[in-house]
């Protein structure tokens, strides 16, 4: 126990700081990938074949590429080769590249989650929207998507939970996040190895469990009565 407490003395501030990085990665990547995923879903249900093809290609490419590779690509190729410099601050730059990598990857999953929501909306809803003179975009915005989102809360929640856990992959993008720190701690404090694992795992559990409960509650509360 004493050893574990001394671990917190030594690393406590950095543990919090690193985990805060994971939460920030989650927040920004969630916002961006949700917007991107919505746009992709609109493309995939649009009447324009080239947009549909683009949406399909995007999803197939990024859903089937390991996140670690996307992250490494961001850092090694975008930063290393093309000198992509979003921020002049070295660490902030890696952080932002990691957000982009996470967003690009999870957008494909949000797109598919939203599309599964679109499938819960009966065809008659779109026909009724068209019949009163709404063209594709307003019909999507006013009639289809609001119902699709309500029908996709559970799958979208699952993508969010995966995203939270996947922020640890930002390690591959040289971001000082919690799993990187975990490796460091285990290296220097091998005596506490098991407890270090447990601590980090617990931190994720504490975040993910309430989100899971919230998702279940929302999906019931917002379900569209038919």
């Amino acid at each position: 126990m004493e050893g574990y407490l001394s671990l917190w003395d030594e690393y406590g501030a950095r543990i919090m700081e690193s985990f805060w990085a994971n939460l920030q990665l989650t927040f920004w990547a969630f916002l961006i990938s949700l917007v991107l995923g919505t746009l992709l879903a609109i493309m995939r249900i649009s009447p324009i074949p080239s947009l549909r093809a683009f949406g399909t290609a995007y999803v197939n490419i990024f859903r089937n590429t390991p996140l670690t590779i996307i992250m490494a690509f961001g850092v090694l190729v975008l930063f290393g080769v093309f000198k992509l410099q979003i921020s002049s601050d070295f660490n902030l730059n890696f952080f932002q590249i990691a957000i982009i990598g996470l967003s690009i990857y999870h957008a494909a999953f949000f797109c598919e989650a939203i599309r599964s929501g679109v499938n819960t909306v009966p065809l008659g809803q779109a026909e009724a929207a068209r019949a009163i003179g709404l063209s594709f975009l307003p019909a999507a915005q006013l009639v289809i998507l609001p119902q699709a989102f309500r029908g996709a809360i559970v799958p979208m929640g699952n993508v969010l939970i995966a995203l939270i856990k996947n922020t640890t992959v930002a390690l591959a993008g040289s971001v000082a996040e919690i799993s990187g720190l975990m490796k460091t701690m285990i290296e220097y404090r091998a005596d506490q190895g098991f407890l270090i694992f447990l601590t980090v795992a617990l931190m994720f559990v504490i975040i993910v469990v309430p989100i899971g409960l919230l998702v279940t509650w929302l999906s019931k509360k917002l379900a569209v009565a038919r």
């Binding site: 009966p122 809803q125 009724a128 068209r130 009163i132 003179g133 009565a225």
Partner: protein, 257 residues
Amino acid sequence: MKSDHQAQASSDGPIVELRGVNKHYGALHVLNDINLQVTKGEVVVILGPSGSGKSTLCRAINRLETIDDGTITIDGKVLPEEGKALAMLRADVGMVFQSFNLFAHKTIMENVTLGPIKVKGMKKSEADKVAMKLLERVGVANQAGKLPAQLSGGQQQRVAIARALAMRPKVMLFDEPTSALDPEMINEVLDTMVGLAKEGMTMLVVTHEMGFARKAADRVIFMADGQIVEQATPDEFFTNPKSARAKDFLGKLITNH
């Protein structure tokens, strides 16, 4: 009230005109050289056995189904293939579906005001007023704040009629509007439709309700196998059908009832 719906008619020609319309589903010739004119204020009832193409015809008129060839005009304007122009023309054609298709996430009031506000650019306050009048007219004003799922089928279908009317359409299409209703609710919807017909609305109605056809139709069209086989006044059609198909169809109806 009559002038209410007719204000926007821009020509004296037919409100709906189909010329040489054909459509196939694979090998199935679902619309076979359809020629049809509906004049202003006319109520046309389409009858025919299941699978004869009645729904397809109805849906082709506001391009929920595409056609292979021929032309369809609404008040003199050829139905555009897509885009904004199509949306504009659709706003002139009210459609009532068998399954109501009210927007499930919107209140009754919002269902009726959505089109006027978003398509016609009407102010919300004005759209609310118009919607309330229409809901009163179809007898569901007291349900304005509810969601569609909280209403009975008959009430939902009357709201659907109000939603279509809110766009001040030049013609109303009905595709079996009472087929999904419990028997005790059929009449409340038919009464609303008879009222509309009396006020001079141009209507094209696919239905199996012969009572409605007798009471409200100016003309009955009988379809079979994708073709218009016979057209006549309701009296003529029901008492003296000419084609063998129509005789057969009416004979089956009588034995079924």
